[in-house]
């Protein structure tokens, strides 16, 4: 079974919980375990938060969330048209954060990598950032 959705929403923190709900609600159709759905929600949450606070620096914009599945393979993309990441390798290092003043943990990308099976980041400074994630559900 295949299915997909793409949503665009305002880059405000009130929409973080909404984005989690959308992803969880969409993938719920596959009847995932609670642990699996929690992994997905956490990864989406980190990526959406990054788009809002880093991509748009809290000044607002539009965040895109794409979710799809094909049998048990989940695909997620989170994208913004914000400032972009000058050094992706550095950004992905555990504990690295460019905003220590916001008490960021620097663990967002590490969490996405841990909770999902695959994760890739594409970014162009002043153009935007897109995070690709994949996960295979174990449930049949």
């Amino acid at each position: 079974m295949k299915n997909q959705m793409r949503i665009f929403f305002d880059a405000v923190s009130e929409n973080e919980a909404f984005a989690r709900l959308v992803a969880a609600g969409f993938f719920a159709q596959l009847n995932p375990t609670l642990a699996e759905i929690t992994d997905v929600k956490t990864a989406v949450s980190e990526a959406v938060t990054n788009a809002i606070i880093h991509g748009y620096e809290g000044k607002g914009g539009t965040v895109e969330l794409f979710c799809a599945y094909d049998e048990n393979r989940l695909q997620i993309e989170v994208a913004d048209r914000g400032i972009g990441i000058p050094n992706i390798a550095q950004a992905m290092e555990p504990l690295y954060t460019s905003k220590p003043e916001l008490e960021r943990s620097g663990m967002g990308f590490t969490i996405m990598e841990t909770f999902m099976d695959k994760m890739r980041v594409e970014s162009i400074p002043h153009f935007g950032t897109r995070v690709y994630m994949e996960k295979d559900l174990k449930t049949e």
Binding site: A17, L21, A24, A28, L34, T42, M107, T110, I111, T114
Partner: protein, 77 residues
């Protein structure tokens, strides 16, 4: 990597929730009780607070009940 999962769980980011059906039933009960107590239609947030859960958990549970779909198919027939 297990470390990160534990970090998140301790952080309260992940918590085990009740099954949808149980929650849906509890929500229906709570709604009736609170509506009676307050004498008015309650809000989503009031219901979530009454159940001690987040809106994020309540909404899918409300979806698990049938009151919406049944409308056009039964009520008007």
């Amino acid at each position: 990597m297990g470390e990160i999962r534990r970090f998140c769980r301790d952080d309260g980011m992940l918590k085990v929730s009740r099954t949808l059906k149980t929650l849906a039933a509890q929500a229906a009960q709570m709604r009736e009780k609170m509506t009676k107590d307050l004498g008015r239609d309650i809000t989503l947030q009031e219901l979530a607070d009454g159940l001690g859960i987040a809106l994020e958990e309540l909404l899918p549970a409300l979806e698990a009940t049938k009151d919406v779909e049944s409308l056009s198919t039964s009520l008007f027939e």
